[in-house]
Amino acid sequence: MPEMTYLQAISDGLRQEMRRDERVFVIGEDVGVYGGAFKVTVGFLEEFGPWRVIDAPLSEIAIAGSATGAALMGLRPVAELQFADFVSCAWDHLVTVAAKQYYRAGTPVPLVLRLPSGGGFSGGPFHSQSPESSFTHVPGLKVVCPATPRDAKGLLATAVEDPNPVLYFEHKHLYRRIKADVPEGRYTVPFGKARVHRAGDDVTLVTWGAMVYTAAEAADELRGEGISVEILDLRTLQPWDKQAVLESVAKTSKLLILHEDTRTSGFGAEIAAQVAEEAFENLDAPIKRVAAPDTPIPFSPPLEKAFIPQVADVASALRELVAY
C-alpha cells in the first residue's frame, strides 16, 4: 500500500473515478491548466481533455448550477469551489434547487461539490471557514468531512456513486500535513459510519476533520494522567452515526463534542441535543462542547490560534468532564 498525503489521496481517488466512469467530469475555477488552487487536478486536463476538466469562469452559481443540470442529464459532475468559503455564493442554488429537486420532482441530482475548508494558516476570515454545519440543516444534502487519507479517497468514491448532492469538505490544513497508507485500488467508505479513531473508556470525544488530530493529541496528554478517551471521527455529518455515539456514551457516560466551526448552532449542538434526549439516563456529566468562539475567523496568528480549538482547550475540557 502506497503512502499518500491527504491531498494525494483525494487526487488519486478522483482520477480513479474519472477513469472508471466516463460520466464523471470536473468543473471549477482554474482546475485545468493550473490543476486547481491546491493542485488536486494536476495532470487531469492532459489525461481527460477539456470537456471533462472544465475551467469555469469565476461563477460559483454557474458552476454549481450547471453541475446540477448536467447531473440531471445523467452525468456525474464533481465541481470544485476554490475555497469552501465561496460556497456561500452557491448557497441559494444548493438549498433551493439541488437539495429539494428530488423530493419535489423525483429527479436525483448526483452531484459532488469539493470544498477545501478549515483554517490554521492565516488565511483570514474568507479562506479559513468550516461551513459544514450550515448544510446539515438542509434536508436533501449530504455532508462529508474526511480526516484521513484513506477516508478521503474512499468517501470520495462513495460521494461520486451517491445519487444525491454531496458536499465534500476537504480540510486544507490536512492536505500536505497528513500522510498514511492508502489502498491502491478503488474502494468505498460508507456514509453514516463513524470511525473509532482511538478506543477508550472514560470519556467519549466526538469530532471530525482536522480536529481529529487535535483530539488525539489531547487524548495523548490525558493518557499520561491515566484517563482513557474514546475518539469517534464522524466522517460524515449527514447522515451521521448517532448509533455509534450513543453506544460509546453508554460505555463512558461522558461526552465532549469538538469542532473547528463556531459554537452557536454548529453541528455540535445537534449532536448534543440528540444525545441529551436519547441518552439522558446514561449521562453522568453535562455534555460539553469545545468549538471556535462566535466570531469571524481572524487573520493574525495569535488571534487565529485563540480562535481555533487547541490541544490545551480540549484537554482541559476532558479533565473537567472526567472530574465531574
Binding site: I61, A70, D162
Partner: protein, 348 residues
Amino acid sequence: MAIARDTEPLGSSLEIGQLGLGRAELLGMYRNMMITRGIEERGHILYKQGKIPGSFYTGRGNEAASVGVATAMRPEDGGTPLHRDMGVHVTRGVEAWRILAQYMGRADGPARGRDGNVHLALIEQNLISMVSHLPAMMPVAVGLGLAFRIRGEPRVSVCWYGDGAAARGDAHEAMNFAGVRRLPVVFVCDNNQYAYSTPPQFEYACANLADRAAGYGFEGIVVDGTDILAVYEQAQRAIEKAREGGGPTLIECVTFRMEGHAVHDDAFYVPSELFQEWAKRDPIGRFGLWLSEHAQLGEAEQGEIENEVKALLGEAQRRAEASPMPDPAELEQGVYAESTEAPGDTDA
C-alpha cells in the same frame, strides 16, 4: 459582435412551407394554445371554487411564445420552462388532467402534491421542474446544454426567464458561461413587461433585454411574442443553430401579462389602455385569424377544435378531481434518492 435585432413580422405572404410546418402542425399549435389557455381558465374556476390551495398563476397572453418555442424543439431537447410557460408542457405532451391535479395538490400531479401550481415538469421530456426563486433554473438549463456538449449529442437546452428575473445574478452567470463555452442553449426571455407590479423602467435601463446578448458574445433577437409563427421561426433558427455548434441565442419574446401577477392581484397598477391595446393582439385570436386567412380554417372546423378541447378539459377535470390527496404517511419519504440510475439519459 451581434446586435439585438427586431424580427420582421411574418406577412401573410409567407409560405407556410418555408417554416417547415404543414397544416396539421399549424392546427396542432393552435390546439395547444387553446388547451393551454383552457387549462389555466379551468384552474381559475377551480381556484374560485376553493379547490386549489395556495395561490394561482397563469400565462395568459404568453401562449404563442410558449407553444411556439416548444414546437420548435425536438423531443430529445430539454429545458427549464417557467410559470408563464404552461404551453411548453402542453406541447410536449403533459396530460391536462395531471396539470389540474397538480394545481389541486393531488397525488397524480407531477409533483405528487409536494409542490404546487406550475412547479412541474416531466424528466422523460427532459424538462426540469422550476423552483420559485427566479431565475435559479437558468444555470441548470445551461448545465443541460453542458451535458449535451460533453457527450457530443446534437441536443439543445432551452432556458426560459422573465423580464424581472433578468435582473438577478443567476441570469448573468448562466448566460456568461454559456457564451464562453458556446454551449447549445437557447435563452428565451418572456418579456411580459411587468415583474409583479414593477414596470420595465424599474427593472432594466436598456432598450431591449436582448441587447444584453452582445455582452455575452452571442446574438440577441426581439420577437413579437404574440405572433406564434414569428416566435416559431426564430426559435427554430436559434435551436438548430445551437444544435450545429453555433452557440447560444437570446430570443426576447415581447408580450403582455394579461392578468395580475397571480390570482389575488387585480393589477390596479397597470394602465387600462395597455390591457386594451394588448387585448387586440391576443395570440390565440391572431393565430386563429391567420389560420382562417391562410390555412382555410373555417367556422365549422374551428368549432370542432373548440369542442374537442372543451371535452378534453372536462374529462381532465373529472379525472383530476378523482385523483386522491397525497398520503401524509409518505411525507418523510424521498428526501434522498436511493438509486443511482441515470435520469434523463435519453441519448440513443
